[in-house]
């Protein structure tokens, strides 16, 4: 297998804080990878560097064999990196339909055709089960539905790498169950990088887990290895016992 995404010596500081510190990371095509770690460990900063929301101070990022370190964010999205935001940021004043039509019309080579946009947008809404709410204003949807809409926007980009930043935060148990099934479905044609606090979701979905602490990778391995890793338990699981559930 070839690596879809690799980072070498990736670093980013905010003032005196080393938010991401010399990170070496590799992600294989087709896997579901979970990134865990205590709050402030640098997980969101790390994926923000990958998708181009921030520029790194040092290091390189390679996506599908191409050096994308200096590439602007929108070009990375076009290469196939999609990011769904931790804090829901759907376009609240636009309809759910328009929210997904925006990514759909960009991926179409023939975006002028209204039929094609309509087809693609409805398909994306159907995959997350929101097609019956296409004309509702996104801001008036229930919170769980907004999270799903956010995922639908990511899906509509037809990504090769989908980065999900704490997607289950604030969802009910039933919604989480549906969500896990959805991610499995997505993973059939995309690589998934999942930042997640809910350990049950992580253990159920991830093929490998990367643990961040203080801006560095503390450990990496299969779920069982991570569960048995003493350093991880100390740094993360040990301090938040409820997360072990």
């Amino acid at each position: 297998m070839t690596a879809l995404l690799t980072t070498r010596g990736l670093s980013r500081r905010f003032g005196g804080l080393r938010a991401v510190d010399d990170v070496e990371f590799a992600l294989e095509t087709g896997e579901i990878r979970a990134v865990i770690g205590p709050n402030g460990a640098g997980k969101t900063t790390f994926v923000s560097l990958v998708c181009g929301r921030y520029a790194p101070d040092a290091g390189t990022i390679t996506f599908s064999g191409e050096d994308i370190t200096a590439m602007p964010a929108h070009m990375r999205v076009r290469r196939g990196i999609a990011y769904t935001f931790q804090i829901t940021s759907v376009f609240a004043n636009l309809s759910a339909y328009d929210n997904v039509a925006l990514p759909v019309q960009r991926t179409l080579t023939d975006g002028r055709s209204r039929g094609a946009v309509r087809h693609g947008a409805m398909e994306a809404l159907e995959r997350v089960g929101l097609s019956n709410r296409a004309n509702e204003q996104a801001g008036t949807l229930a919170y769980g539905h907004q999270r799903l809409l956010e995922v639908a926007m990511g899906l509509a980009l037809k990504p090769r790498l989908l980065i999900l930043d704490e997607p289950t935060q604030g969802l009910s148990d039933g919604e989480i169950e549906n969500f896990v099934a959805l991610v499995r479905e997505i993973a059939k044609d995309a690589t998934v990088l999942l930042i997640e606090h809910n350990m049950q979701v992580v253990m159920e979905l991830a093929q490998r887990i990367t643990v961040f602490n203080a801006g560095k990778i503390l450990a990496e391995g299969a779920p069982a290895e991570i569960r048995g890793n003493a350093a991880v338990q100390d740094a993360y699981l040990g301090t938040t016992p409820e997360a072990q559930a």
């Binding site: 929108h74 940021s89 636009l94 328009d98 019309q105 960009r106 991926t107 004309n135």
Partner: protein
């Protein structure tokens, strides 16, 4: 807002508005005939402003520069070089294109309040420049374009831009072109992206859109429309002066658009028409027109943020573009 909405209804409404304006040519008394011609040209200015402010969400305080670029771009070659009307009109639009491209490339490096101040300062530089080159522009006093220079010969026909009916119908024609173009724009892919940028620029970028390029396109579209209005103003009303480059003419389109309804296609016309007559009527009683402008601005942002058509769309007619 739904872009796949009732296309036929939308175009029928706008064509009806244009038809009504054409019909008024034969019905209006002389005074209002002249006023409406002027209002239509200024409404084109407001529509240009609306593209950037209403749809892309960029509040510029320097649009007088684009209007004046069209005004001088058309007026100076006609006055000094004896260019014909069509060439002068084209020169006005070209001047607006160049000005808005340069300003866009510079000012879009900033955002929010800094964008407002930077655009205001560049416009101030332009205004002062028109004063500095008073030898050619005659500054505040301005240039009067002579009647014989404002004729267009089409084969055997001669269009006299100083005749009221010709002037009115040309103003309607320009207005109609820009109106229908802006309807098409806001219903296009690009229009949807501009609204997305207004709502959340960071999110739009993360959907793979080059937001800078889209905003630059909006600045240039807006600048060219405003310049077309300025060029038409010079040619139809025969006057080119620095006043039109002053900060007041950057504030007025903002006022008109806010009043009529930002991000509505017909709002700029309603706002311009209403404000023009309010000031016209108020000046019959008092010379304190600035008081009216100031009070309306404050009342609008306090109590009526969506403007006339914005409110109508929200409450009653959801399909209005």
């Amino acid at each position: 807002m739904n872009w796949e909405g009732p296309t036929a209804k939308v175009y029928a409404l706008h064509v009806a508005v244009v038809a009504l304006l054409v019909g008024l040519n034969f019905a209006l008394p002389e005074y209002h005939h002249g006023v409406l011609a002027r209002v239509l040209v200024l409404a084109v200015f407001a529509m240009g402003y609306n593209v950037l402010f209403g749809y892309a969400g960029l509040l510029s305080l320097g649009h007088a520069m684009f209007f004046a670029a069209g005004l001088y771009g058309a007026g100076l070659p006609l006055y000094h070089l004896g260019w014909g009307v069509p060439a002068a009109f084209g020169a006005g639009i070209a001047a607006g294109f160049v000005a808005s491209l340069i300003i866009g490339l510079l000012a879009l490096r900033t955002s929010g309040v800094a964008f407002m101040i930077v655009t205001m300062m560049f416009a101030q530089v332009f205004y002062l420049t028109t004063l500095y080159f008073g030898e050619w522009t005659r500054g505040d006093e301005g240039l009067v374009l002579q009647q014989q220079a404002r004729q267009v010969t089409l084969g055997a026909q001669t269009l006299d831009l100083t005749s009221p009916a010709t002037r009115y119908l040309l103003a309607v024609a320009l207005f109609a072109i820009v109106l229908l173009a802006s309807v098409a724009l806001v219903r296009s892919r690009h229009g949807r992206v501009l609204v997305a940028i207004r709502e959340n620029e960071e999110r739009t970028r993360m959907l793979g859109y080059d937001t800078f390029a889209n905003k630059l396109a909006a600045v240039v579209t807006s600048g060219v429309i405003c310049a077309a209005a300025g060029a038409a103003y010079a040619l139809l009303f025969g006057y080119v002066g620095s006043t039109f480059a002053s900060v007041q003419y950057s504030i007025l389109p903002l006022l008109w658009v806010l009043l009529g309804g930002a991000a509505t296609t017909l709002g700029p016309l309603i706002g311009t028409l209403f404000m023009y007559y309010v000031i016209d009527i108020a000046s019959g009683y008092t010379s304190a027109y600035m008081l009216v402008v100031g009070a309306v601005l404050i009342l609008l942002v306090l109590f009526f943020r969506k403007g006339v058509l914005g409110t109508v769309r929200e409450r009653w007619v959801g399909w209005l573009p």
